[in-house]
């Protein structure tokens, strides 16, 4: 399948700020593609470059094989759903949606028909003759989507379209967006700083960080196999371990010496899945998600082929019903462990504050990150939100 929307080495700076820094990626036709990243990482700027409101300093943007870099906004076959909706306050809902068609000088009865079917799609038929000031936030949101979609753009750009809505409404609109995308089959480019939104809607996600795309992959890949420590910590929670390869027993696995665990008696290294093909002496930055750990009072019975087992002390417990979060100390480290309750909890031997426990995980469930350096201290060297 051909690439549909393509960025080739696009950069944009505002004074000293590199808002978008040499970004290259491509979006497939009909894909739901998300740009995910913290505030100020350049998501909106990227979107505005596609819409044509900003010109890149360097690089090219291709749409369906055509170079659109120099095209003014009104000549680009893309439409935007603005963060604040930007509905025309002096026009009715109907006229707002009809605007693009009127500009394109489409026949009157065709306009009528198209707008009506759009109103139906977003379930706003009964509000057609209201002014934007007379409808609610969620309804404005839907009108904004309809106003953009009615022009049958090649790409629909959405800039945090749900940010202004309350949680309940956001969840409903999320489902509706998904439905609309399935119905119209148009390529969606969705900007958000909310990982939940991005994970649940997208076919693929580009994780952005200070103007750079750190990883472009499916939601599951981004979560399970984060490339960098930024991605690992921005999407979900994780534990980072810094270490040095001490031995490479076979092609797939290596033993890693972790300084934080140095004073544990009998510790002879953590077994890691070695997909980066590290040699002895190589630096390793390992990410293990909290839910990948097992924790128990008794020594673990089931043995995996490549299992790491450590002694740990429980420092903190937060029970949340369907799972429990533990913070345990191992060596000089605090590690977050999330346990789902598959069995009936009260039948199990309870784990209490201060207990000595067994901590274990399958070497296959840890993931080596691309960046070898310790993660940015700003992200917290352990787990967000501890």
């Amino acid at each position: 399948m051909g690439e549909f929307l393509e960025f080739q080495g696009v950069s944009k700076r505002f004074g000293p700020v590199k808002a978008v820094n040499n970004v290259s990626f491509s979006v497939k036709r009909g894909e739901f593609f998300s740009l995910l990243g913290p505030s100020g990482c350049g998501k909106t700027t990227l979107l505005r470059l596609i819409a044509g409101f900003e010109q890149p300093d360097s690089g090219r943007i291709l749409l369906d094989g055509q170079d659109i870099t120099q095209l003014p906004p009104n000549h680009r076959n893309v439409n935007t759903v603005f963060q604040n909706y930007a509905l025309f306050p002096h026009m009715t809902v109907f006229e707002n949606i009809a605007f693009g068609l009127r500009v394109a000088r489409r026949p009157k009865d065709e306009i009528e028909h198209e707008v009506m079917s759009m109103l139906k799609l977003v379930q706003m038929e009964d509000k057609a003759w209201h002014l934007p000031s007379q409808i609610s936030g969620g309804q404005k949101q839907r009108v904004a989507i309809a106003r953009a979609l009615v022009n049958k753009p090649s790409v629909l750009l959405l800039d945090e379209p749900l940010a202004a809505l309350d949680l309940k409404l956001r969840q409903r609109m999320l489902l509706e967006l998904d439905l609309i995308h399935d119905q119209v089959g148009i390529t969606f480019l969705y900007v958000t700083h909310d990982q939940g939104e991005a994970m649940s809607l997208s076919d693929r996600i580009a994780v952005m960080h200070s103007g750079v795309t750190e990883q472009i992959a499916t939601p599951a890949e981004v979560y399970e196999a984060p490339k960098t420590s930024f991605v690992a910590s921005f999407i979900g929670d994780t534990n980072f371990f810094d270490g040095i390869v001490s031995s490479v027993p076979d092609d797939d696995y290596c033993l890693v010496d972790i300084p934080d665990f140095a004073d544990i008696e009998g510790f002879n290294g953590v077994l890691c899945y070695n997909d980066k093909k590290k040699a002895v002496g190589g630096r390793v930055n390992l990410s293990v998600r909290p839910e990948k750990f097992g924790i128990s009072i008794d020594p673990p019975r089931r043995q995996f082929a490549h299992m790491n087992v450590l002694r740990a002390k429980v420092e903190d417990i937060i029970y949340t019903g369907n799972h429990t979060n533990y913070w345990v100390s191992v060596g000089s480290r605090r590690i977050a462990v999330y346990q789902q309750h598959a069995g009936y909890l009260l039948d199990e031997k309870p784990i209490r504050w201060g207990d000595d426990v067994w901590l274990y995980w399958n070497a296959d469930n840890g993931y080596m990150l691309d960046d070898e350096a310790a993660p940015d201290p700003g992200l917290g060297d352990n787990v967000k939100g501890v």
Binding site: P73, N74, N84, F88, H90, F99, G100, V103
Partner: protein, 258 residues
């Protein structure tokens, strides 16, 4: 037992009396048959008749209207574009200077404006008269228009323009369909203000009006020197007040619209 204080009510009445008694006396006197105005001489409309028969007065009114309309049109056009420029390029240094320059006529004493305009017109040998008055009026009313339109623009959501372009509209269509409809109340309010200012202006006009080009306020001033004309001026003032009242009311209606 609670007793609401009567003081606010009393103050309000006192202030209203203070403002409106002179006007009321003027209005009543315009119907007063006694020409001295000191005593009541019975109802009459003869001052209005005299007013309507006064050739010079009609001439002055015509001048005022001609200048009022033309200077309003021109100053609205210039003031509006100035406001757009200030809005669009706000923050750049040249626009800050522009803003101050535009603001000047609002704060400089009128007499100073009058004298300086007179000096310029003399220097470039522009004959004093209707055209000079027109130029002078444009000079100050465009500042007012610019300020009124600018304040309207500052409430304007700039993403609406991007939204229109995003939907395929070019600059011209965006201006016509989005920008103008949304700020036209501001433009209309500015134009009405410019018109009232022009018709009302005495000081500046006095300096730059030549012989035979008197406007209404200047004419009134010259008539007031003869007491026999006073009742006629009362009649004129009453009519003008009614007219101004109507204009102000319309202007408020316009600017109050969303």
């Amino acid at each position: 037992m609670t007793r609401t204080s009567r003081i606010p009510l009393a103050t309000t009445i006192a202030i209203l009396l203070f403002f409106y008694i002179p006007i009321a006396i003027l209005v009543v006197n315009s119907f007063n048959a006694s020409s001295t105005g000191g005593a009541w001489g019975g109802w009459t409309l003869k001052w209005y008749q005299k007013l309507f028969a006064n050739e010079e007065m009609w001439h002055a009114i015509r001048n005022s209207l001609v200048i009022g309309v033309t200077s309003t049109l021109v100053s609205t056009a210039i003031g509006t574009s100035a406001a757009f420029a200030l809005y669009k390029y706000s923050g750049t240094r040249i626009q800050k200077v522009h803003g101050v320059v535009l603001y000047m006529p609002l704060v400089v004493p009128e007499i100073l404006m009058g004298i300086s305009l007179l000096m310029i017109f003399m220097a470039v040998r522009l004959p004093l008269g209707l055209f000079a008055i027109f130029l002078a009026h444009v000079t100050f009313s465009m500042s007012y228009v610019a300020m009124v339109v600018l304040s309207r623009l500052q409430d304007f959501d700039a993403t609406l323009i991007e939204a229109a372009q995003d939907l395929g509209a070019d600059a011209w269509l965006t201006a016509r369909k989005i920008l103008l409809p949304l700020i036209s109340p501001g433009i209309v309010a500015g134009a009405l203000l410019a018109f009232t200012l022009s018709v009302d202006d005495f000081v500046i006009t006095f300096f730059v009006s030549g012989p035979g080009s008197t406007t209404l306020p200047v004419q009134v001033y010259s008539m007031i020197k003869h007491s026999r004309n006073l009742p006629i001026i009362n009649a004129l003032s009453t009519l003008m007040m009614v007219a101004t009242f109507v204009i102000v009311l319309t202007s408020q209606r316009q600017s109050r619209r969303a």
